[in-house]
Symmetry: C2
Subunit: 220 residues, 2 copies
């Protein structure tokens, strides 16, 4: 993942252009930081958007769901997908409603969806998704059963174009609003894992792996 995505009609950022980026490193960093993608497709001429787990391998995003799930069938059938991953980093309190805003990291991807059908390709794609959401976990678990793989629908979206948009920092107020005795600044918002909670079925002496423990307290 190096170089820039071509900027075209679909992925060009038109508002707040100074916050836009088209380089693969920035796009990949945000995709790798997020956990849920909002995947949109067209069905019968109308828009549908569905939140999905995902994983990235180079310029390809992998998505999964039940093989029979509507979103899997729509992606399989419709082809074109637009996917957004956004992490909210805070509220920006300016001295006017107009200048108030949010801090965020956001990526929008446009691409072609295709069904991943061969069982070994599916397994590889599911590994990518699993490593993204639960790094190291799959190595602890038994291999997937063939019927589990068959019941799982896997979609690959080859990224045709993408853009990132990043907003950070403090309010940018108009000069004329600065004498008002109103507080201005930022209220950060954090998405963070807390502490592992075992279920009632964990056997005596069975501890979470180091990989799982390393996720505790982690900020996305």
């Amino acid at each position: 993942m190096t170089g820039d995505f071509d900027v075209g009609k679909k992925n060009e950022v038109r508002q707040l252009r100074e916050k836009a980026a088209y380089d693969r490193e920035t796009v990949a960093r945000i995709l790798d930081a997020g956990l849920v993608a909002h995947v949109s497709v067209v069905q019968d001429g109308e828009p549908v958007v569905v939140p999905m787990l995902y994983g990235r391998d180079g310029d390809t995003l992998y998505l999964h769901g039940a093989r029979k799930a509507r979103i899997v069938r729509m992606l399989e059938g419709s082809g074109k997908a637009c996917i957004n991953v956004t992490l909210l980093d805070g509220l920006v309190f300016a001295r006017s409603a107009f200048a108030s805003s949010m801090n965020y990291r956001s990526v929008t991807v446009f691409g072609q969806a295709r069904l991943v059908d061969a069982l070994d390709d599916k397994e590889r794609a599911l590994h990518v998704i699993s490593e993204h959401a639960m790094p190291g976990r799959r190595a602890e678990l038994r291999p997937s059963h063939e019927n589990e793989l068959k019941m799982t629908g896997v979609i690959a979206v080859d990224i045709a174009s993408a853009s990132a948009k990043i907003s950070t920092g403090m309010p940018e107020d108009e000069e004329c609003d600065l004498d008002t005795p109103v507080w201005g600044g930022v209220l950060p918002l954090e998405l963070r894992f807390t502490a592992l909670q075992p279920d009632d079925l964990v056997g005596d002496g069975v501890e979470p792996s180091e990989a799982l423990k390393a996720m505790e307290g982690k900020k996305l």
Copy 2:
């Protein structure tokens, strides 16, 4: 907001039906808890999804952006919108990859978008959005200038149908996977405001309002 949304082809939850809800109270609770909506529209026959701030008033969602922003013009032009708000609550570590999942609160809304054009209607809608993201803040700020209102595009989406999907609790493993000496449980994920950070322009003795202070540490 009482009663159920009618269940039809668009909003019926087909996978994990036991996690679905169609009552307005549940839908409203999740919409009111979230901060960013993923708004999808069809443009030139292809899907587009954009993250947007929003606010809810009864069965109407309000969205805003620059008046000239592409998403505002697309919503104005295309009419149909599908909007999802998802809050991720944790990763669910089961003893198989297949049974592993996430905990979440999610709402999907289908509706008709229309431009809000009259300045006083715009102002009311912007108040709804502002109160949703920054409760109490607008009362501290000067009224919007007319040119600010004109530069802001406001869209109302009248909710035609909606569904909620909520997943909570511990892994549901297959019986045959339970003798493996693998840890199982949940790693909660929290979206939380931290502490207010003033900018360099806050005057001596100017403190954040009680409404702002009340947001510190708040979990979404």
